[in-house]
């Protein structure tokens, strides 16, 4: 499998700016303007593998999670995005046709059986290093969510 780890958790907020300020003040999360807070650690795969994770509130009017109706979206960091997308296509999964090439890397999206839109991210090599955090929070420890059938999703 091409998935290396959690790349981020994005969720809808009625007041994302206020929420970013709260997380900055109490948990030390340093969000960029209108963006999210990045954490960087060392991956547990190849030596030197980067493990970037992003925490990011979105306005609740965003269409970024469409067609999912869930108020959150999980991003997985992957290697070899193309074969992964091809295998999802081949399996008949609802994967977007285009791989998006962006500043931060390459992205693809697929719907899981529970109706979550899942973001697959192959980070760009040139992404700037993130400074070590100075606040109490050192990283994302986990993303938990409710689902109708946990065992099916794990499969």
């Amino acid at each position: 499998m091409g998935v290396r780890g959690i790349g981020g958790i994005f969720f809808k907020s009625a007041a994302p700016d206020a929420l970013r300020a709260w997380y900055r003040d109490y948990l030390g999360l340093a969000s960029g303007d209108g963006g999210g807070a990045w954490f960087e650690g060392q991956g547990d795969g190849q030596p030197g593998e980067r493990a970037l994770t992003v925490w990011g509130p979105f306005p609740d009017t965003t269409d970024y999670f469409d067609p999912s109706s869930k108020p959150f979206m999980i991003n997985f960091r992957v290697v070899d995005l193309e074969p992964l997308v091809a295998s999802l296509h081949a399996a008949g999964e609802a994967v977007d046709d285009e791989i998006f090439e962006g500043e931060e890397g390459r992205f693809a999206w697929v719907m899981d059986p529970d109706g979550h839109r899942v973001e697959l991210w192959e980070p760009a090599d040139h992404l700037p290093a993130r400074p070590p955090v100075s606040g109490p929070v050192t990283g994302l420890g986990g993303v938990f969510f409710k689902t109708g059938d946990p065992s099916a999703l794990k499969a």
Partner: protein, 87 residues
């Protein structure tokens, strides 16, 4: 890169779990933290809703708080401060 190993869990829960209560959100985020006791104390002093509950396991200590959006957040202090432990 600061060399901190970054372990992040992904875990689906049954739809009827009460683990995220009193939040009505269908998701919960866990943050790795250092100095959990100090953090919880600061949050309480600031008037943030913090659980009285504090769980201690081999793989770390856990506290919970509610954010202004009504999200329950889990604060996890791994036993080794750099957070390599796998719960």
């Amino acid at each position: 890169m600061d060399g901190t190993p970054a372990f992040t869990a992904w875990e689906p829960f049954p739809a009827d779990t009460d683990y995220f209560d009193p939040s009505d959100k269908p998701f919960m985020i866990n943050f790795r933290v250092r100095q959990l006791d100090d953090l919880l104390e600061r949050l309480r002093t600031a008037g943030v809703e913090v659980d009285a509950r504090l769980d201690e396991y081999d793989y770390g200590r856990f506290g919970w708080a509610m954010d202004p959006d009504g999200q329950r957040i889990e604060l996890w202090e791994p036993p080794d401060p750099e957070g390599t432990s796998d719960p």
